[in-house]
């Protein structure tokens, strides 16, 4: 069978089986052969929950990999200034455009005149192929490109697996419900008052001094991590009383790291802090159990609360 193989003449079921057996990189490479093939791959609807599209704005790279990181493909978005093309450059169709592409051992380099447009087009192409969520790399929160691109991704109603943002960006992202795991870097800014109109599934806040009890009591996340918090014993008492009364209905895990949590004589649920260590607490209707764990590191008291349904 040396003559070219008429792949698209095969029935859809067969094509789907063929696509399924290809690696992440092979699927992407094949999707760039033509718009028709790309459409067929999209029709195959790979609900690939194990594929992670990881966007790294600083190195202008999109890394697509499996959960175990064994199947990896990298796409670099490069400025199209014409000079960097060579004899291996090929023009490939992506999102209604035909752009120059160079093949490298770990993936491909795609040349685009406008960076953000390139990122958006490639991301959309990938999400159609893999039907998966997107992760935004932790080192990109300070990139200028970041803000406008993420905002556009939100407008496209895409779902995020992990998203790392600066606290000041909160106002831009209107629906955090589409984010599975939100990580917020907070820089001191007394002028800025964050407002949450919706919550992600999980939230991690680094330097969470601004995240007061009022914020926490309205939080509907399942997992909450608060680092460098200013919450104290009285707040813990309030949190636990609230939980016992049916508050935090989704909560599975809460982690608070704070210098203000200390064995200072004040009581939490009627006992002093140290007596909370390893304590099993049931809520008022006895449907859930909360177990506390205490530890100290670098002068910060850390309390973890794990909730299980009884």
């Amino acid at each position: 069978m040396s003559s070219p193989f008429p792949l698209l003449r095969l029935p859809g079921v067969i094509l789907c089986e063929v696509f399924k057996s290809l690696s992440i990189g092979e699927k992407i490479q094949l999707s760039l052969c033509s718009t028709k093939i790309s459409t067929q791959i999209n029709n195959a609807q790979f609900y690939s929950h194990n594929v992670i599209v990881n966007q790294d704005f600083l190195s202008h790279k999109i890394r697509i990999h499996s959960e175990n990181n064994k199947d990896v493909f990298e796409i670099f978005i490069c400025p199209d200034i014409g000079k960097n093309h060579n004899s291996n450059t090929q023009r490939c169709p992506i999102a209604c455009c035909t752009v120059p592409v160079i093949f490298i051992p770990t993936g491909i380099k795609i040349f685009w005149k406008i960076y953000s447009e390139g990122f958006l087009s490639v991301i959309q192409h990938l999400l159609k192929v893999f039907q998966c969520k997107i992760s935004i790399n932790i080192n990109c929160y300070c990139s200028n490109l970041f803000q406008q691109t993420i905002s556009k991704l939100f407008d496209l109603q895409l779902e995020f697996r992990t998203l790392t943002i600066k606290i000041q960006h909160l106002t831009i992202y209107n629906n955090l419900g589409r984010v599975e795991d939100l990580r917020i870097f907070s820089l001191p800014d007394p002028e800025f008052i964050p407002v949450f109109t919706s919550w992600p599934q999980k939230i991690t806040i680094m330097n969470s001094a601004w995240f007061t009890l009022e914020y926490l009591l309205t939080c509907t996340c399942t997992r909450i991590f608060l680092e460098d918090s200013l919450l104290g014993n009285e707040d813990l008492d309030e949190i636990l009383k609230n939980w016992k009364a049916g508050g935090f209905p989704n909560l599975e895990y809460l982690y608070i790291e704070s210098q203000r949590i200390s064995d200072n004589g004040s009581t939490i649920l009627g006992v002093n802090l140290l007596k909370l260590r390893g304590k099993h607490i049931k809520n008022n209707d006895r449907s859930k159990k909360l177990v506390t764990k205490l530890s100290t590191k670098f002068g910060f008291e850390r309390i973890e609360m794990s909730v299980t349904v009884v």
Binding site: P4, L7, L8, R9, L22, Q29, C33, I37, Q90
Partner: protein
């Protein structure tokens, strides 16, 4: 003539697009899920019409089924490297046209093992290649060809629907048979078997 399969000795007549008939063992035919769903329990009067496929293609497909009758139970797709020498020869001696016809027939007949090996063989053409190299391996069809393909698939879907309706009708008749008194049912089965023997002796 054909009859419900109860042992591997039972032969079934298959009719190709040319109108030619040839026989296939029940054991080989039972590898086809399409056959199992339509005819296995109810039998079929006369040759089974697989008239969308030519004789050469059907013979090739059933050659594979006959060969794999004695192999261990199919346990999911194998890697091309795991194929036996016989399997490799089977694929290597086909030209591209025959290979595509075999894939289509195997897909229609829903023969899992053969379909999966065919898919693996196609995937192997693409594996380890970049876009540039893939484009050299595959032919990209014209808009007209794609339109023609869509029409063929629609026609096949309509044909498959008809076959399914016919099978459902036959199944209804069989259910009626089951309601007959035992004596009458025995007589009906005896008539069927006699027809089958007559058919084989005529050949």
């Amino acid at each position: 003539m054909t009859s419900p399969a109860s042992s591997s000795e039972v032969k079934y007549l298959i009719e190709s697009s040319e109108g030619n008939t040839f026989d296939v063992s029940g054991a080989a035919l039972r590898q086809s899920n399409t056959f199992n769903a339509m005819f296995l329990n109810i039998g079929a009067d006369g040759p089974i019409p697989f008239t969308d496929y030519n004789e050469a293609t059907l013979k090739k497909v059933f050659e594979y089924c006959e060969h794999s009758v004695n192999e261990e139970n199919y346990s999911g797709p194998k890697h091309q490297d795991d194929l036996s020498k016989w399997d490799l020869n089977f694929f290597n001696e086909m030209d591209q046209k025959m290979f595509i016809d075999v894939i289509n027939a195997s897909n229609f007949l829903d023969i899992e093992r053969l379909t999966s090996y065919c898919c693996e063989r196609i995937a192997r053409m693409l594996r380890g290649k970049n876009t540039q190299e893939m484009i050299k391996v595959i032919t990209l069809p014209t808009a007209e060809e794609l339109e023609a393909k869509q029409k063929v698939e629609e026609k096949k879907a309509a044909a498959a629907k008809k076959v399914a309706e016919k099978a459902a009708e036959t199944a209804e008749k069989t259910e009626t048979l089951e309601e007959l008194p035992v004596q009458q049912l025995v007589q009906t089965t005896r008539n069927k078997l006699t027809r089958k023997y007559l058919s084989f002796s005529n050949e």
